[in-house]
């Protein structure tokens, strides 16, 4: 046993004792119980063959996704089938183009299409190759899906899958037959495409991209994709100072927007990813119908407000939950329901080498005075997560607004801390009610840090993104090539969502 290992074991025993002692105090027992400190011993590293770590969540099924690094999963009901579309980062140094067993060919990571109708036995249907390139430099990270019959000018028999193509384009595929997708159109000539949003009821798409002449790496191109075969550009949008021809400081870049649609008439943009972030609240109607020339004045016009965050934190996901009834305020004559935006930062660096990225809840009811009201992070000591390897911190939340979980529960991908299930019915006091950290496999890729100029690597799960379906299944995917895990809630967490 090395001195370092001895120290780690000694620390883990001490921490276990500390939490056991704290949790035995009646005053804090409820909190401890709900955050699953009940582990008898803190696990400091993952080993192949060990069981997953879980509380009030259990594994239903899994698929290895051909050992491709995964970003966005989107689950879509197609007739009586449920199809998971999973976007991938590029390949690794060791395996730039994994072999697709269905074709026998080495293919650059792109989009996995998996039939999850029976979640216990997911069936891999098809892989659409992405852009050649490794890590963030290739693949097809993002994916959204709309039915043709819902889009105003779509083919009613089609199912349209919008994806990024590496960093250089956005593509739309017809996946009505998910085993045989057909390319419909491509919007190319771009750089740094990323986390888009597509309103299925209108066809309006917010395509995060890098336009060649803009000064920022990522801005938002707004398109009318109501007829996916004929994309219509509406305008470019970003922050004053990012537009072509500007000088001086360049504001931080967008990561992704989420629209409340024509009824909500708001778009919530998250900027900054992991540093100097802010939430921007934008009037959707002014954004779509206002003056479109990218001048500083025109870019400023649709903005209602910005809520700056600490320089230590950024905004990866800005998930709106409008008109949430707050039980504590039920007898108040005013303000008994609140407009809430959940902001999820993205951890970027391995092994806690940057400020903790976590989850924030903002009350935006008075839109010009938005205010942060609460936060959540996984207690590091509960799993020695800074020692396990890879990233520890938040990355994203589920973005489904299906009634099963909307405004009741949120699921947060937390890299080496797996997925965390939060009871958010009182967003002023979010509470963890479950978690699941998948086991690593032989496919799980290493994560390294530089020590004296040399790589020191560890292997740990890296739960990157999470999504839910209308049935209540939770889908998590791994950045370190471990694949897709389909989960369900158990015990008290199930009751929070009102599930039988």
């Amino acid at each position: 046993m090395t001195g370092r290992l001895k120290l780690a074991n000694s620390l883990s025993v001490k921490l276990s004792f500390f939490f056991s002692a704290i949790c035995s105090l009646p005053v804090v027992w409820i909190t401890c119980g709900s955050t699953a400190y009940a582990q008898s011993q803190v696990i400091t590293s993952q080993v192949i063959g060990a069981p997953p770590e879980a509380s009030n969540m259990k594994l239903v099924g899994a698929n290895d996704l051909q050992a491709r690094s995964a970003y966005q999963p989107t689950i879509h009901r197609q007739g009586d089938r449920w199809i998971a579309y999973v976007g991938h980062h590029g390949g690794t140094d060791e395996i730039p183009d994994p072999v697709n067993p269905l074709t026998g060919k080495a293919e650059p990571n792109g989009t996995s299409i998996v039939d999850v109708t029976d979640p216990a036995h997911p069936k891999y249907l098809h892989h659409i190759p992405g852009q050649e390139g490794k890590y963030e430099g290739g693949g097809a990270q993002m994916v959204r899906v709309c039915d043709g019959k819902q889009l105003p000018k779509g083919d009613p028999n089609a199912v349209y899958m919008l994806r990024t193509f590496g960093s250089e384009a956005h593509e739309i595929w017809n996946t009505a037959d998910p085993a045989n997708p057909v390319l419909i159109t491509r919007i190319g000539g771009l750089k740094d495409t990323h986390k888009n949003w597509w309103e299925c009821e209108t066809g309006i798409a917010f395509l995060v991209s890098g336009a060649p002449d803009w000064r920022t790496r990522r801005m938002t191109m707004i398109y009318d994709l109501s007829d996916p075969a004929h994309p219509q550009k509406i305008r470019d949008f970003g922050l004053p100072g990012q537009e072509p021809g500007a000088t001086g400081a360049v504001p931080t870049e967008v990561h992704g927007p989420i629209s409340a649609g024509p009824q909500g008439n708001r778009v919530y943009f998250g900027y900054g990813t992991d540093k100097g972030g802010f939430l921007q609240i934008v009037d959707r109607d002014k954004l779509l119908n206002g003056p479109k020339e990218p001048t500083a004045e025109n870019l400023r016009l649709p903005e209602i407000s910005r809520m700056p965050m600490s320089a230590f934190n950024g905004a990866h996901t800005t998930f709106p939950m409008l008109k949430m009834p707050i039980a504590e305020f039920a007898k108040d004559k005013d303000g008994k329901s609140r407009d809430i935006v959940m902001i999820v930062d993205e951890e970027i660096v391995n092994e806690c080498a940057e400020p903790r990225q976590m989850v924030w809840f903002a009350d935006v009811t008075t839109e010009t005075r938005p205010m942060m009201i609460s936060s959540f992070t996984v207690p590091e000591a509960s799993g020695a997560f800074c020692e396990r390897g890879g990233r520890f911190g938040s990355h994203s939340s589920n973005e489904s607004m299906a009634p099963v979980y909307y405004k009741k529960m949120a699921f947060i991908s937390f890299f080496n801390a797996g997925v965390r299930a939060l009871d958010i019915r009182d967003p002023y006091h979010p509470t963890e009610v479950g978690y699941f950290i998948p086991a690593i496999t032989a496919a799980t890729d290493k994560r390294c840090v530089k020590i004296d100029g040399k790589d020191r690597c560890k292997v740990a799960i890296q739960t990157n993104n999470v999504e839910t379906d209308e049935r209540g299944y939770i889908y998590i995917v791994d950045r370190a090539n471990t694949g897709l895990h389909i989960l369900e809630l158990t015990g008290p967490a199930r009751a929070v969502a009102g599930l039988p």
Binding site: Y135, G137, V250
Partner: protein, 180 residues
């Protein structure tokens, strides 16, 4: 007596922490002296700051340099264009109002490749400075530096590059990016 002891202890602690905050380059080497990092905390940890006021540096030049570990952009392509220098080179620490004087150029510092660009910088008090922004990278990590002075851009650039390419600074920059 007790007050004197407390005062001495406080001075000792402050001095020690001040020294620990940054390592000095050898005083007077090429006219450069390390000074305290002059900017408030932002998203990146503080770097190192240096001042030179000898004739060799023209009318006084300051250089601020720091690593940005985990920048997460352009891991493969590095600092690919002048816009990237505008965004990352810390010019905004001094003033948000700056305009490029000319297209940038390729540069290599401490075995890292990137770009350098010169700017006209308008300070808060209305005065104008010349600034040189430098951004180089290794994998997903950046090393950025910004130099400014009242002299011509060519002079500020020459003085800053000579200093940054010195053996001691090159070694520190390599260690800063490589996790030393």
């Amino acid at each position: 007596m007790r007050r004197s002891l407390l005062t001495a202890l406080a001075v000792a602690i402050c001095t020690a922490s001040g020294v620990a905050g940054y390592q000095h380059v050898r005083s007077g080497e090429g006219g450069w002296h390390e000074i305290a990092w002059p900017f408030p905390r932002d998203g990146w940890p503080a770097g190192r700051a240096f001042h030179c006021d000898t004739a060799a540096c023209g009318d006084g030049v300051e250089v601020y340099v720091r690593p940005k570990i985990g920048f997460c952009s352009n891991c493969d392509t590095g600092v690919a264009d002048d816009d990237e220098v505008d965004r990352v080179a810390d010019l905004d620490l001094m003033s948000e109002r700056f305009a490029p004087l000319a297209p940038g150029q390729l540069i290599e510092v401490a075995d890292m490749h990137g770009r350098l660009r010169s700017y006209d910088l308008r300070m808060q008090d209305g005065s104008r400075h010349t600034a040189v922004g430098i951004a180089v990278s290794r994998h997903c990590d950046l090393l950025v530096a910004v130099a400014h002075g009242r002299g011509a851009a060519s002079g500020v650039q020459r003085a800053a590059l000579e200093f940054l390419k010195s053996r001691e600074m090159s070694r520190w920059m390599t260690l800063a990016v490589d996790g030393g």
